[in-house]
């Protein structure tokens, strides 16, 4: 009863909720892209080629620390996406008959949500390199940094490929099946 009333009250705001959702998706998707491609990658690639160069290591550590901080925008946007998305589903009266939406939800819940949970940990919680240095010294920080580099290596193709599919499905709402 209360939920129906709430849904009725929110339904005229569908497009406004959609605007918030899209803006948050854009912030989540693109906010770290320049930093990743043009700052983080060159620093890490230089380190992989010259693993013992102290200058390269200092630069890599500095860029990683900045990148951890820069991920804040992405990590504020993601919860907004995760709240506004289900709100759109509920207010818009969508159900499981929309196959494009089911594929999109499987990707978001199955891939993006676990990836972002790991990313929160690596950037701001136990995996934060600044915190790791303070709590366990340089070796501990180095291990955390390797873990984060593994995370970035593995998730880059997943994010690129499946984000393309999700955006395509969301825009075209293509009829499947």
């Amino acid at each position: 009863m209360i939920m129906d009333a709430l849904r009725q009250w929110l339904s005229p705001w569908y497009l406004e909720i959609k605007f918030v959702h899209l803006a948050a998706v854009m912030a989540w998707l693109w906010s770290t892209s320049v930093a990743y491609v043009h700052y983080l990658l060159p620093a890490f690639r230089a380190w992989r080629r010259n693993p013992d160069d102290e200058g390269v290591i200092a630069l890599r550590d500095w860029v990683m620390d900045r990148f951890d901080r820069g991920a804040v925008i992405e990590h504020i946007a993601f919860p907004i996406v995760m709240i506004s998305g289900p709100l759109l589903y509920w207010v818009g009266g969508w159900d499981s008959s929309a196959t494009w939406l089911m594929i999109k939800l499987l990707i978001v819940i199955g891939f993006f949500l676990p990836i972002e949970c790991c990313d929160y940990h690596l950037s701001h919680l136990g995996g934060n390199k600044r915190k790791a240095l303070a709590s366990g010294g340089t070796q501990h920080r180095e291990r955390k940094l390797h873990l984060h580099w593994w995370f970035l290596l593995v998730t880059t193709p997943v994010i690129i490929y499946f984000t393309g599919i999700v955006v395509f499905l969301a825009v075209t709402k293509i009829s499947i099946g």
Binding site: L106, E142, P157, V158, G177
Partner: protein, 103 residues
């Protein structure tokens, strides 16, 4: 043997290798597509009773997407970790710079 690498004070070596990257690419491709196909099968066939997903077209499309993803994933892993991938345009010139730090 590299004495520096064996020393307890030496920084740990990064464990990425081309063999691992190839295995990861296949693992990711198979697991992601199995999850999507299986999840959609549960929703469409088990829950909604629609059997279109069992036809040849969706299966061929899933396999094609899986192979494409495996190829892209392997390329990405090798490219991003330039130790083994491309990256010949980059040059390492020694510079001494002071990086800003917050107080």
């Amino acid at each position: 043997m590299d004495d520096k690498a064996d020393s307890p004070d030496a920084p740990p070596m990064f464990s990425g290798t081309p063999r691992k990257y190839r295995r990861i690419a296949w693992l990711l491709a198979i697991s992601t597509h199995a999850f999507l196909y299986g999840g959609l099968l549960l929703i469409e066939y088990v829950w909604r009773g629609r059997d279109w997903l069992l036809g040849a077209k969706p299966i061929v499309f899933t396999v094609f997407s899986m192979l494409l993803f495996a190829q892209l994933c392997h390329r990405s892993l090798m490219y991003v970790d330039t130790q083994y991938g491309r990256g010949s345009r980059w040059r390492l010139v020694a510079h001494h710079v002071k990086l800003p730090e917050e107080r």
